[in-house]
């Protein structure tokens, strides 16, 4: 059964992998997205991920379910939010199936689709400033104080 979650802590990759490693599956594909030092020429100190958590969890689960139905496999996804240091995983997708083609395809589908339609935003904190990454754009975090008007 498809599994998806938005989590605040370090993602436990072996535990997530275990979910799709049943005795009927001969192939397990795992994708790990992690914080890298360089982003389009910017040196990254750390990242902060923000999610519209309830909607993101629903969308993630839907994507996992779509992949399970399309490729007849088992899928699990966790996306972490909050501050993440270099090399830490922000997202992990696992797919288990009888044969390898389905596991690869399902895993790839989930990470590709996740980027398009799961409401999560990344802020890159760099030595020279911080940037919201929004699709292809990097928007410098404005200096104006936050106002929560009503």
């Amino acid at each position: 059964m498809a599994y998806a979650a938005i989590v605040n802590e370090v993602i436990d990759v072996p535990a997530l992998t275990e979910r799709v490693s049943g005795v009927d599956n001969g192939a397990v594909c795992v994708f790990i997205g992690q914080v890298r030092r360089n982003s389009r020429g910017r040196e990254v100190a750390y990242l902060e991920y923000q999610a519209y958590a309830p909607m993101a969890a629903k969308q993630l689960l839907r994507i996992a379910e779509e992949a399970e139905a399309k490729w007849g496999c088992e899928v699990g996804v966790e996306h972490r939010v909050g501050r993440m240091e270099l090399c830490e995983a922000s997202v992990v997708v696992v797919a288990g199936s009888r044969h390898r083609a389905q596991a690869f395809e399902a895993c790839r589908y989930c990470i590709d689709t996740l980027k398009e339609r799961v409401p999560i935003w990344k802020k890159e904190v760099c030595p020279d400033g911080s940037f919201w990454i929004e699709g292809e754009e990097a928007i410098e975090v404005s200096d104006v104080p936050r106002e929560t008007g009503s």
Partner: protein, 81 residues
Amino acid sequence: MRVTVLCWGHLTDYFGSDGFEVELPEGATIQIAVTLLEQREPKAAGLTRRCRYALDEEYAPLETPLYDGCTVAILPPMSGG
């Protein structure tokens, strides 16, 4: 009617990330809520063109009518992964 508005990504720099309530006339759509935001913060004007929108945690087009107690979210281009 009272509607809760949630902003995300760089919009939280202008509007905060906790959401806020607005009073809208009956029959108001997501478009009307968005226009209200653009008026409130000129720097946000035009940026909302790039956004998608959600009504009660589901994607919805700009012309979707709102109702009392609902939640509208303004979603800039996403960068999960």
